[in-house]
């Protein structure tokens, strides 16, 4: 619509002074070359496409999941049955996921933080540090099914028989212990990378300020560096947790193809941890149309629960970072 205000007829007036606000990027891009504008349009399109895919997955699983998920499924274990309504729920799988997550992260977190602190704060001898770095990168690159296979070799050895079911000298090598140990390797590189990033972001003079009032390296690391890197450590832990609860290969190979806990001898928590079990990913795999159980409705329900867990982890990362921003950081 033309305004009645008199404007110079030929072309827009030359711009005087700075732009009115910094968010008129669209107006500015109108002056770009055609190729740049096409590039911008492609970026926009790809960004929107990506959002659309994510939203589609979440919405689809939400619709399906909410349709099939019944609260009773969360509290009843799977049982043998002829129809989907008779075969119980997936409470064992849900609890199994939680067990694996807690055990896996409690192995990976201290080791990961320790490795990262050593790499950033000590890192001597240099050759050893380089080797450690490459090793962690290598672990990050190994497919989890390969880790799982390797795990069967380790945990079937007689020396580690106390961690899983043993019968007449044969070690089964399948237990929550075995699965959690290998799953911690999946989370480890993420925790190391994230913690290193956090430690590297702390200016050097902050460390020196702590040494310069007579603090030791250990005190500085405990009281200054790790608290300052806490948001990144937490991010690494959350990403690692996401990987642990999302992993299927290690569960199938090292935890067992059962849908229920299979406790073996020993005192209460240990008997379950030494036995085989299942997790939500395993349940989804088995319940999917191609799996042995073939209960697609429950697969959707379980997948929805899994998705909720991962979304909750993402939200937790967000909260941690927002809280860290309140504490502030050093001007560089």
């Amino acid at each position: 619509m033309e305004s009645s205000v008199a404007t110079p007829p030929a072309g827009p007036p030359p711009r005087m002074g700075p732009p009115k606000s910094s968010n008129d990027a669209v107006e500015a891009s109108a002056a770009w070359r055609l190729s740049d504008r096409i590039g911008l349009a492609i970026c926009w399109a790809l960004g929107l496409l990506f959002c659309a895919i994510a939203v589609a997955i979440v919405l689809y699983l939400m619709v399906k999941g909410l349709a099939y998920l019944k609260p009773s499924m969360l509290v009843t274990p799977a049982t043998a049955g002829f129809s989907q309504s008779q075969s119980g729920g997936f409470s064992d799988a849900l609890i199994g996921t939680l067990i694996v997550a807690v055990m896996g992260i409690s192995i990976a977190l201290p080791i990961g933080i320790g490795v990262a602190v050593w790499l950033v704060e000590y890192g001597r001898p240099v050759a050893l540090a380089r080797i450690a770095e490459s090793t962690i990168e290598a672990i990050a690159g190994i497919p989890s099914i390969v880790l799982a296979l390797f795990g069967t070799v380790i945990f079937s050895s007689t020396a580690l028989g106390f961690l899983s079911r043993t019968s007449e000298g044969v070690v089964f090598g399948r237990s929550f212990f075995a699965a959690s140990a290998m799953l911690s390797l999946v989370a480890l590189p993420l925790i190391v990378a994230s913690t290193r990033e956090g430690l590297n972001a702390i200016p050097h003079h902050v460390r020196e300020a702590s040494y310069a009032i007579g603090k030791t390296k250990i005190a500085t690391t405990r009281r200054i560096l790790l608290p300052a890197a806490r948001p990144q450590v937490a991010t690494g832990a959350m990403l690692g947790l996401g990987r642990i609860i999302g992993d299927t290969a290690i569960i199938v190979v090292l935890l067992g193809a059962t849908q229920n806990f299979a406790p073996v001898g020993g005192a209460f928590p240990i008997n379950y941890l030494r036995g085989a079990g299942t997790t939500l990913t395993n349940f989804v795999y088995e319940a999917s149309p191609t799996g042995n159980l073939n209960q697609p409705e429950k697969a959707y329900a379980a997948a929805f629960v899994l998705l909720l867990m991962v979304l909750a982890l993402n939200a937790a990362v967000d909260v941690i970072h927002r809280r860290a921003r309140k504490v502030g950081t050093w001007s560089s």
């Binding site: 300020a209 603090k215 250990i218 608290p227």
Partner: protein, 306 residues
């Protein structure tokens, strides 16, 4: 074409101890256009008077100290006294070794793997290499160029210094008097007393730097090292910190590295001019700026290089 080689006269002088410090514009130098003033670098214009030291006790003795990194010598055979009751200022162009020398006083240079030190540094007549580093660094504390409070509350920043290494022992209540007195000595208590549990990194730059000074004072050191403490601050915060430094000189020996000649002139009792690792000249501030003995000093303070 004629260039102005004389820096502007100091804009401020500190009065004697019994009169409050006041900001004054210095009167133009009497002989600003004469030969004498040009030769003396223009610092004679306003008579500097932070007051002669009431006393001076030798705390540290730098004795023929040379420091070298892997590929170069940073400090070459420097000898200097560090006295309580005085402010010692190290000046010189970038890379002249003044910060390295400062860092060697509490053995921070040892954190640099390649740094090597020869000569002796004495603290109260004891070679600092015979003092356990963490103990030494509590007796000789340091404040850095960038304000770097720790990412915790204002209170905890000071409490961290007072507590044993990484422990959390000694509850808040028990530490309160010492924390308050450290903040008071750094002239920060009035400003932060209501927000002691606020994150220290949310303070203003000048407040952060005074918190760092308070942190250094909380260890009750004999010597306080300041590495260009005002270079990241605005003029107002700088003035507050300069006043503070002058006030502190009676309790601790103060060594300050500064790029700012005016600052050295305003607050230092003795000035050491370093150039390329050598100690070129060491004398009282008035004589170093007023009548430098060395040609290099004269060139530097008159702004010919640097």
């Amino acid at each position: 074409m004629e260039f102005v080689t004389t820096p502007p006269p100091p804009i401020r002088r500190l009065e004697l101890e019994d009169t409050p410090a006041a900001t004054q514009v210095a009167p133009p130098a009497a002989g600003a256009d004469g030969n004498g003033a040009a030769a003396s670098g223009g610092f004679t214009g306003a008579r500097r008077s932070i007051g002669a030291p009431q006393f001076s006790i030798r705390r540290m003795e730098i004795d023929d100290v040379s420091i070298s990194y892997a590929d170069r010598d940073a400090v070459k055979g420097v000898s200097l006294p560090v006295r309580q009751g005085e402010v010692l200022s190290l000046i010189g162009p970038s890379g002249c070794g003044k910060t390295t020398l400062l860092r060697s006083l509490n053995r921070l240079t040892e954190l640099t793997r390649t740094a090597k030190l020869t000569g002796r540094i004495l603290l109260d007549d004891v070679d600092i290499r015979q003092i356990e580093p963490t103990l030494l660094r509590r007796r000789v504390t340091m404040v850095f160029q960038q304000p770097n409070p720790f990412p915790m509350s204002v209170f905890d920043n000071i409490a961290y210094v007072l507590r044993e290494q990484g422990s959390r022992r000694q509850r808040k209540k028990a530490l309160e008097p010492k924390v308050y007195s450290a903040l008071e000595r750094a002239g920060l208590f009035e400003e932060v007393k209501d927000n002691l549990d606020h994150p220290a990194l949310k303070l203003s730059g000048g407040q952060q730097q005074r918190l760092c000074i308070a942190r250094g004072l909380a260890a009750e050191p004999e010597v306080l090292l300041l590495d260009e403490p005002c270079s990241a601050l605005d003029p107002q915060s700088t003035q507050v910190i300069e006043d503070l430094i002058v006030k502190l000189r009676d309790d601790v020996a103060v060594v300050i590295v500064t790029h700012n000649l005016q600052q050295a002139y305003r607050i230092a009792d003795h000035v050491a001019f370093m150039y390329l690792g050598d100690l070129v000249e060491y004398s009282s501030a008035t004589s170093l700026f007023g009548s430098p003995r060395e040609k290099r000093t004269q060139d530097y303070v008159s702004g010919a290089f640097g």
